[in-house]
Amino acid sequence: MHNHHKAKEVPLKEGERVVLVGNPNVGKSAIFGLLTGSYVTVSNYPGTTVEITRGAAHLNKKRYQVIDTPGVNNLLPLSEDERVTRDILLSEDSHRIVQVIDSKNLRRGLLISLQLAEMELPFLLDLNMEDEARSRGITIDTDRLTQILGVGTVSTVATRRKGLDRLVGGLSQLRASSLRIDYGEPIESSLRQVVELLPQAYISRRALGLMLLAGDESLKGWLHQNLSAAAIEKIEAICLSLQEKFSHPLSYVITEIRLRWVDSILSQVVAAEKMERSSWGTTLGQWSTHPIWGIPFLLAILYLTYRFVGVFGAGTLVNFFEQTLFGRYVNPAAIRLVKAAIPLPFLQELLVGDYGLITMALTYAIAIVFPIVGTFFVIFGLMEDSGYLPRLAVMSNRVFKVMGLNGKAVLPMVLGLGCDTMAVLTTRILESNKERLIVILLLALGVPCSAQLGVILGMLGGVSLKATILWSFTVVAVIIAVGFLAARVLPGKGSDFILELPPLRLPQISNIVIKTAARIEWYLKEAVPLFALGTLFLFFLNWFGLLKAIEELASPVISGLLGLPTKATGAFIVGFLRRDYGAAGLYALAKQGQLDPIQVVVSLVTITLFVPCIANFFMIVKEKGLKVALAMAGFIFPFAILVGGMLNWLLRWMQVQL
C-alpha cells in the first residue's frame, strides 16, 4: 500500500503526465494552453471541453505530457463528460494532478480537493481567477490552506498569463494530501469492511471503497474486471445494510459530510468582505435573462449577427470573393493556365470545367462558404466568451421542455449552428441518453451549420424577408414537432435543468482571434477535401453521362414532388456529402435565375433538413453506434423530401407570393 500519509514530496519526472482537473469553467483549458503552447478551445461556459486533450509541455527543461479534462463538480460522475475525468484518475499513468480552482468559488473546488486527498494522489492546487476573487472582496489564506491540506497552492490568472512561473515551479513539488476525513460511524466501519475486499489500485482503496458505498454505477465494469463475483456480492450486501441506516441515499450523505469538512476549512482560510455585487457584468447578466428584457436582448444579438454574417459576410465579402477575386482573377487565370499547360480535355474539364475542382469545389469552398463561416465564427466566439450562451438556456428552457429536453440542450444546439459535427460531441454534457439521442437527431435534421446558414441567408436575402421568415418558421416548426414526437417515442427520461451561469466577461480579442483562426483552419481541412470529393463524384457522373440518367431517374422527386428544375439534382447529390455544399449549388442555380422564390424556399428547406455532412454521420456512429446512425439517416432523408414536397404543394395551392 502506498503510504502518502506523511505528505512526502513527489517530484515530477521527465516524460510524466500531469492531469488538469477541476470544476467546469475554472480555466483548465486556458492553463493547458499556457503549459503546452497548443490551443484548445477556451470559452466562458461550463462544458466547453468534453473530451480529454493531450499536449506536450517543456517546463524547467523537461518534457511532460499535459492532459486537459472535462470539468467535474464531484468525482462521483453524473454525466458522460464527468465520467471521462474520473476514469483518467483511475487509470495507471495519471498520478500527477493539478487541480484548477476558481478562487471565488473555493468551496466547490475543495469538494474535489478532499476527494483527491482521499485518493492519495499527489497534487497541486492552482487558485485561478485570483483577480475576480479579489475584486469581489474574497481573500484566501493560502499558507493556512497549504497547512491544512498538506499540498502546495499557487495563484494564477490564466487568461493574463499571471502566475505561470509559480505554477511551473509548483509542479516539481507535488504532494499527496495529509488530510483524512472522518465519516463517523456507521460509515467508517462499513468502509473498513469494503476496503478489506478490494485489491490494490492506482488510487487508495479507501477512496474506491467510498465510491462503491456511494453506489457509483459507473464503477461496475471496473469491479467485474478486478474482483470475484463473491466479493462483489459481499460489497453489495455491505452497501445495502449501510443504506438502511440512512434515509437519504449514501452518495448524498457522503457528499454532505465532505461539504461540512469543506465549510470548516473555509472558515479558517477565507475572509470575505461583504461587497455589493454590482458591475456592468451583473447588470447586463440580469437583463439577458430577464423575462421581458431578455427577449429584445436576444433579438438585438440576432440582428447584429444577421448584419455581420448575413449582410457583411454573405453579402459584401462573398461578392468580393466570388465576383471580383474568383470571377475576375482566379478562375479566368486558372482556366487560361490549365488550357495552356494541359492539352488533355479530360483534365481540363476536371480542373476548370462545369464540375471542375477549381471552378466549382474551390470557388464554393473559398469564395462562398469561407467568408460566411469566418464571420460567423467571430460572432460565435464573442457569444461563447462573453458567457451569453448559458443565459440563452435560461430563456429557452420552456421551449426545450416541449421536446423532452431542458435549457441545457441549447448549448449543443447553438454550437450546431457553428458545426453540427462538433456539437454531437458536446451532447455529452447532457445527463440522460434519451436527451443525447434527441439532440443528436435534431442537430442532424434541422440545425443548419454556419457554412450552410450563411449560404441560405445569402440566398433568402435575395428573395424577400417573407421567404426568410417562412424558411425559419418551417425549420423551427419541424425541429419542435420532431423533438416533441421523439420525446414521446424514445424510451428513458429527461433530466433536471440545473445550469451554472458564469459571470458575463468582456471577451478577449486575442482569444477570439486564435479561436476563429483555429476554427477556420479546421473548416478548411474538413470541408475542402469533401468539397473536392463531391465535385469529383459529380464530374465523373457527368463525364460518363450518368448525371443525365440520374436527373431523369430523380425527376419524379425533384421536379414532381419538389417542383424544382432537374439541374438541382446535382446539388442534392452533393448534399449527401455536405449539405452546405448542396446549398452552395442551389445558391449558384438561384444566381443564374433558374429558381423562382417558391423553388428557393422549398429547395432550401429540403436541403436544411438533410443530414449535415458525412463527417456528422461518422460522428454519430462514433457516439451512438452504426445502428442509431443508420436509423437516423434512414428517417432524415425521406422525411426532408417529404417536408419539402408538402411545403411545395402547400405554397402552390395557397398561391403564396414571396
Binding site: 463538480n73 464531484n74 462521483l76 453524473l78 476558481d102 471565488k104 468559488n105 468551496r107 466547490r108 469538494l111 476573487a133 469581489r136 474574497i138 437519504h248 441515499p249 452518495s251 448524498y252 457528499t255 454532505e256 461539504l259 461540512r260 465549510d263 447578466g285 440580469q286 435573462t289 430577464h290 423575462p291 431578455g294 448559458p390 438556456a393 435560461v394 430563456m395 428552457n397 420552456r398 431542458n406 435549457g407 445527463e431 433530466s495 433536471d496 435543468f497 440545473i498 445550469l499 451554472e500 451561469l501 458564469p502 459571470p503
Partner: protein, 240 residues
C-alpha cells in the same frame, strides 16, 4: 371519536364551506352524490341539524325559501343555519386542520388529488392542536389551501404576525433578491439530490434568489445557476 361526533364534524365542515361559497343551502353534492336517497338524506340532515342545536352548536335556523333551479333540498323548509360561538370555533378548527393537511400532502408529500382529499378528511379528525400548530408553523403559516380557499388563522399565526416571516418557506416563495439558508430538500429522485449537493446545495448553505421567470436563477457563494421551478419548489429555506 364516536361516530356521532364524527358526523357532526362533517356537518359543521359543510356548513362552513357552504357559507364561504356564499350559499345558505346545503347542496346535495356536499352530502352525497345522486338524488335517489334524497329522502333518507333529508332525514339525516334534519337529525344532524337537530343534534347541532341540542349541543348548542347552532343557534338558529332561519326561514329561507329555496330558490328555484338551485340544487338542494329542503329541510322542513328551513335552511339557513347559524352557528353558535362554540359551533363556530369548532367548525373553524376542523376547516383549519383539513386545509393545513391538504397543503401538507400536496406540497410536501406531493400526493395526488384523490389521496390528498381522503388523507385530509381523515387527518382533520385526528390531529391534536399541538400537532396542527407545528404543521402550521412548518408550512410558514399559510393563508390559503391548495384550492385557494382561506385557512382560518389560529393563535400561532397571530403570534407569527408579530415577526412576520414564516419559519420555513419554499425557495420559490423567497422574495426576489433575498437570501435564505437551506433547511431541507425534498427531491423527487436521488440523482437530483446528487446534482444539487455537488454544486454545494445542501442544508445549511445560504442561497439568494434572483429571478423566477423564465427560469429560476439563484446564487450560492459566487456561483449563479439556473434551475427549474420544480426544483425550486423542493428546496426549503429559512430567511437568513
Amino acid at each position: 371519536m364516536s361516530y356521532e361526533l364524527y358526523e357532526l364534524d362533517e356537518l359543521l365542515e359543510h356548513i362552513w364551506t357552504a357559507r364561504e361559497d356564499g350559499q345558505v343551502l346545503l347542496q346535495e353534492e356536499i352530502l352525497a352524490p345522486g338524488g335517489e336517497e334524497a329522502a333518507a338524506l333529508e332525514e339525516g340532515v334534519r337529525q344532524g341539524l337537530l343534534l347541532l342545536r341540542e349541543r348548542d352548536l347552532s343557534v338558529r335556523e332561519a326561514a329561507t325559501p329555496v330558490p328555484d333551479g338551485v340544487p338542494g333540498f329542503r329541510v322542513e323548509g328551513l335552511m339557513e343555519v347559524a352557528l353558535s360561538p362554540e359551533g363556530e370555533r369548532r367548525a373553524r378548527d376542523i376547516i383549519r386542520r383539513h386545509r393545513l393537511a391538504e397543503l401538507l400532502f400536496t406540497e410536501i408529500f406531493e400526493l395526488d388529488e384523490a389521496q390528498v382529499e381522503s388523507g385530509a378528511c381523515n387527518f382533520e379528525h385526528l390531529l391534536s392542536p399541538k400537532v396542527i400548530e407545528s404543521v402550521c408553523t412548518f408550512l410558514g403559516h399559510p393563508r390559503r389551501c391548495p384550492h385557494g380557499k382561506p385557512i382560518p388563522p389560529d393563535e400561532c399565526c397571530n403570534r407569527f404576525q408579530v415577526d412576520i416571516q414564516p419559519l420555513v418557506m419554499r425557495l420559490c416563495d423567497l422574495p426576489l433578491g433575498e437570501e435564505g439558508r437551506i433547511v431541507f430538500i425534498t427531491p423527487k429522485h436521488h440523482a437530483r439530490l446528487d446534482r444539487l449537493s455537488a454544486l454545494g446545495l445542501i442544508p445549511g448553505s445560504v442561497i439568494r434568489l434572483h429571478q423566477r421567470q423564465p427560469s429560476y436563477v439563484i446564487s450560492i457563494g459566487e456561483t449563479d445557476m439556473a434551475l427549474d421551478k420544480e426544483i425550486a419548489r423542493e428546496i426549503y429555506v429559512r430567511k437568513a
